[in-house]
C-alpha cells in the first residue's frame, strides 16, 4: 500500500475494451480492439494528457476511466477504491467527483433545456443547494466561466461554439468535481477561441485544485497544458512521460514520427520530415507482436513476434519498444551531426553581412537625398 500522499487520484489497471464480436445467425460483427491492456496512474493535481491519432482509442479510454462505458477487462480505481464493481446507485453518487467536457459543444448540451437548467441540474441532483440558492450558484458558475448571468434563460442554440463550451464547463464544475476529463475540449473550436478555453481550464484547475485529464490530438495544445503525456497507438500506451522530455527527446519511434510531423520554423532543420508510411492497421485485425511494427522504420524480426511492454526508461518515463535504447543513441548521433554541419551557418553569415551592407548603403542614400 502506498501512502495517501502518493496515492493516485485515478488509476487504471489492465483496462481492455472490445466492441462487437457478436456471432449470431442474423448479425455478426468483427471484434474491435479499442483499448488493450492500458494501465496508468494519474496523480492528484496534475494535468495528464492522452494523445494519439483518431481511432487510437483515446476517447474510449477517457470514457472507461469515468465508467461511462463498461470495461471488458481490468479495473479503474478512484482514490484507491475500485469503481468497476460499484452498483449503478453508488456510481451515480461518485459521478459528482468525476466530470467530463465533450468535444463537440453543439452536441453536448440538451437543446430543450435552458442554460440555467443545464447548469442547475447537477446542483439539484446532488443536493448541493436548494431553492433560491440554486439560482445564485448558477449565476456564480456563469461568472466563473466568463458568461453573463442573463444567459441562464436562453437555450444552447443561441450561443457560439466557444460560449457553449463554457456552458459545458460550468455544468461540469457545478457538482464541485475533483477530476475533469476533457475529451478533445477545444478541437472543435476556432483557433482564436481555443486559447481562451485552454486558459479558462488552466485557471479553473488552479482555482479549484482540479486534476485534469486531456484527451487530444493537438500536440501544441498538449505541450502548453499538460504535466505528463501518454501517447497511444492502436489502443495501447506506447510512451508515457513528463511533457518536456517527451517533446525534447521522444523515445518511441511512433512519438518521434508524431512530433516529426509538426512543422518547425527553423532554417537549420532542413531535413525532410520522416513521415510514417502506410495506414493505421484496422483495430479489428491487429498485427502480431508490436502493434507499430507495420509502420516502424526501425522494425526487426523480434517486433513481429513479441509484444513489447511499457518499460521504465528513467526519469518517470515509460516506453513500449524493444529497441528504444539503440534508437535513442542513433537519434543523438544524427542530431549531433546536424549541429556540426556548419555550411548553413556560413551561408547565413554571408547573408547577414550583405544585408548589413545594404542597410548602410540605403541610409547613406537617404542622407544624400
Amino acid at each position: 500500500m502506498s501512502s495517501p500522499a502518493e496515492q493516485p487520484i485515478l488509476e487504471a489497471r489492465g483496462l481492455v475494451k472490445r466492441f462487437g464480436g457478436r456471432r449470431g445467425i442474423f448479425d455478426s460483427s468483427p471484434t474491435v480492439h479499442a483499448v488493450n491492456d492500458v494501465s496508468l496512474r494519474i496523480a492528484r493535481g496534475e494535468t495528464f494528457a492522452i494523445v494519439g491519432e483518431s481511432g487510437c482509442g483515446k476517447s474510449t479510454l477517457g470514457r472507461l476511466l469515468l465508467r461511462l462505458i463498461e470495461a471488458s477487462e481490468g479495473e479503474v480505481l478512484y482514490e484507491g477504491q475500485s469503481i468497476t464493481a460499484l452498483s449503478q446507485r453508488e456510481m451515480r453518487r461518485l459521478r459528482r467527483d468525476l466530470q467530463i467536457i465533450f468535444q463537440d459543444p453543439f452536441a453536448s448540451l440538451n437543446p430543450r433545456m435552458t442554460v440555467g437548467d443545464i447548469i442547475a441540474e447537477p446542483i439539484r441532483l446532488h443536493g448541493l443547494a436548494r431553492g433560491k440558492a440554486v439560482q445564485a450558484r448558477v449565476t456564480e458558475l456563469l461568472g466563473i466561466v466568463g458568461l453573463r448571468a442573463e444567459y441562464a434563460d436562453r437555450y444552447p442554440h443561441e450561443f457560439s461554439g466557444g460560449q457553449r463550451q463554457r456552458i459545458g464547463i460550468a455544468r461540469a464544475l457545478a457538482g464541485e468535481p475533483k477530476l475533469i476529463i476533457g475529451d478533445e475540449p477545444v478541437s472543435a473550436l476556432d483557433v482564436s477561441i481555443q486559447a481562451q478555453v485552454i486558459n479558462l481550464l488552466e485557471d479553473l484547475k488552479d482555482r479549484f485544485g482540479l486534476t485534469l485529464v486531456i484527451v487530444a490530438h493537438d500536440l501544441a495544445v498538449i505541450r502548453h497544458m499538460s504535466d505528463r503525456v501518454a501517447v497511444m497507438y492502436l489502443g495501447e500506451i506506447v510512451e508515457l512521460s513528463p511533457v518536456d522530455p517527451l517533446y525534447e527527446q521522444p523515445l518511441h519511434p511512433y512519438t518521434q514520427a508524431l512530433l516529426g510531423a509538426i512543422p518547425r520554423p527553423d532554417p537549420k532543420d532542413r531535413a525532410a520530415p520522416k513521415l510514417l508510411q502506410g495506414d493505421v492497421p484496422s483495430p479489428t485485425d491487429l498485427p502480431p507482436g508490436c502493434r507499430f511494427h507495420t509502420r516502424c522504420p526501425h522494425a526487426r524480426q523480434l517486433c513481429q513476434e513479441i509484444r513489447p511492454v511499457l518499460e521504465d526508461a528513467g526519469g518517470g518515463r515509460g516506453v513500449a519498444c524493444h529497441f528504444w535504447r539503440e534508437i535513442a543513441q542513433m537519434e543523438t548521433a544524427t542530431t549531433q551531426r546536424a549541429r556540426t554541419d556548419g555550411a548553413l551557418d556560413r551561408r547565413l553569415e554571408v547573408y547577414r553581412a550583405a544585408q548589413a551592407r545594404r542597410e548602410a548603403d540605403s541610409s547613406q542614400a537617404g542622407k544624400i537625398l
Binding site: R154, E158, A174
Partner: protein, 288 residues
C-alpha cells in the same frame, strides 16, 4: 462573445415557434379549419335550433333551403344539425384514438429504444407483425371483434395506430440516445428514469406531435369508414361516416346527403394535415 448571440432578444423558444407558425400561411389555414370544426362540435346546440334525432314525414330528402340549410335526410332530419353533432363523434374519435395510440406507443418506443437488447427485440417484433397488417383492415378486425360502438371503434383505431408511434418513438430514441448530451446526463449521475423523461422524451417529442396531428386525420377517416360499415357510431346517433352510409343509397336522388358530410371529412382531414406540417416546421428549434 459572438455578436449574433448578443443580438437575439431573450425570448422563450415557444414564442419563436409561435411566430414561425403564424408566418406559415397554410399552417394557419389548417389551424383555422381545425378550430372551426372544434367550435362547431362544441357549440352544436347553439348553432342550430333543430334536434338531430327529430324525424319529419313532411320533409323527407328536401334539398338545401332557407329552412334546412344543407337539406334533410331520408327520415326528414336536418343534415346541418346532424353534421354539427356528427363533428363531435368524428373529432372525439380522432383525438381519443390518437391519444390511446400515443399513450401506449410512446412509452414502449422509449423503452425499446433506450434499453435495447431483449426489450427492443420483443417490442419490435410485435410492432412489425402489427405493421404488416394494413391499418384499416386491422381497425375493422379489432372493431368487429370488440363489437360495434363508437367507444370500441376508438379503441380499435387507437390500437391499430399504436405501432406507428412505437416505431417512430423507438427510431427517434435510438438517434437521440447517441447524442453527447445524453452521455453528459449519465456523466453527472442522472438516473435512467430522468434521462428518459428530461433528455430523451423532450427531444423525440416534436416528430411525435407532428405524427399525432396527421394521424388524427387518418383516425377520422378510419372512424368514418367504420361507421360507414356499421362498426362505429350506431344509429340514430349521427356521425359523418354513418351519414355517408345511408346517403350512398340516395346518391342520385339526394346528392346533398353525401356531399356535405363527405366535404366535412375532406376539410377536417386537410386541416389536420396542414396543421401537422406547420407544427413540424415551427417546432424545429435548430432553424430559427
Amino acid at each position: 462573445m459572438s455578436v449574433q448571440a448578443e443580438a437575439i432578444a431573450p425570448r422563450r423558444r415557444l414564442g419563436r415557434a409561435a411566430t414561425k407558425f403564424l408566418a406559415n400561411r397554410s399552417a394557419v389555414f389548417g389551424g383555422v379549419l381545425v378550430s372551426v370544426f372544434v367550435l362547431m362540435a362544441l357549440l352544436a346546440p347553439v348553432l342550430t335550433s333543430y334536434d338531430p334525432f327529430a324525424t319529419s314525414f313532411t320533409s323527407i330528402r328536401k334539398p338545401p333551403s332557407a329552412d334546412f340549410w344543407l337539406g334533410t335526410d331520408e327520415l326528414g332530419r336536418d343534415i346541418y344539425t346532424r353534421m354539427l353533432y356528427g363533428a363531435r363523434a368524428s373529432l372525439m374519435a380522432g383525438v381519443v384514438s390518437v391519444a390511446i395510440a400515443v399513450a401506449v406507443g410512446v412509452p414502449f418506443g422509449l423503452l425499446a429504444g433506450f434499453y435495447g437488447g431483449w426489450v427492443d427485440a420483443s417490442v419490435s417484433r410485435v410492432t412489425e407483425a402489427l405493421l404488416a397488417i394494413p391499418f384499416l383492415i386491422l381497425a375493422i378486425a379489432l372493431a368487429a371483434f370488440l363489437g360495434p360502438s363508437l367507444t370500441n371503434a376508438m379503441i380499435a383505431i387507437g390500437l391499430s395506430a399504436t405501432p406507428i408511434f412505437i416505431r417512430l418513438t423507438r427510431g427517434q430514441t435510438l438517434a437521440v440516445k447517441t447524442e453527447d448530451y445524453v452521455e453528459g446526463a449519465r456523466a453527472i449521475g442522472l438516473p435512467n428514469v430522468l434521462i428518459i423523461t428530461r433528455y430523451i422524451f423532450p427531444n423525440v417529442l416534436p416528430p411525435i406531435v407532428v405524427q399525432a396531428t396527421i394521424t388524427i386525420a387518418t383516425a377520422i377517416i378510419a372512424e368514418a369508414s367504420l361507421s360507414f360499415l356499421g362498426l362505429g357510431q350506431q344509429p340514430p346517433n349521427p356521425s359523418w361516416g354513418s351519414m355517408l352510409n345511408t346517403a350512398k343509397n340516395f346518391m342520385t336522388q339526394a346528392p346533398w346527403m353525401s356531399i356535405f358530410p363527405g366535404g366535412a371529412i375532406f376539410m377536417v382531414v386537410l386541416g389536420f394535415n396542414l396543421l401537422g406540417d406547420g407544427l413540424r416546421d415551427a417546432l424545429d428549434p435548430r432553424d430559427h
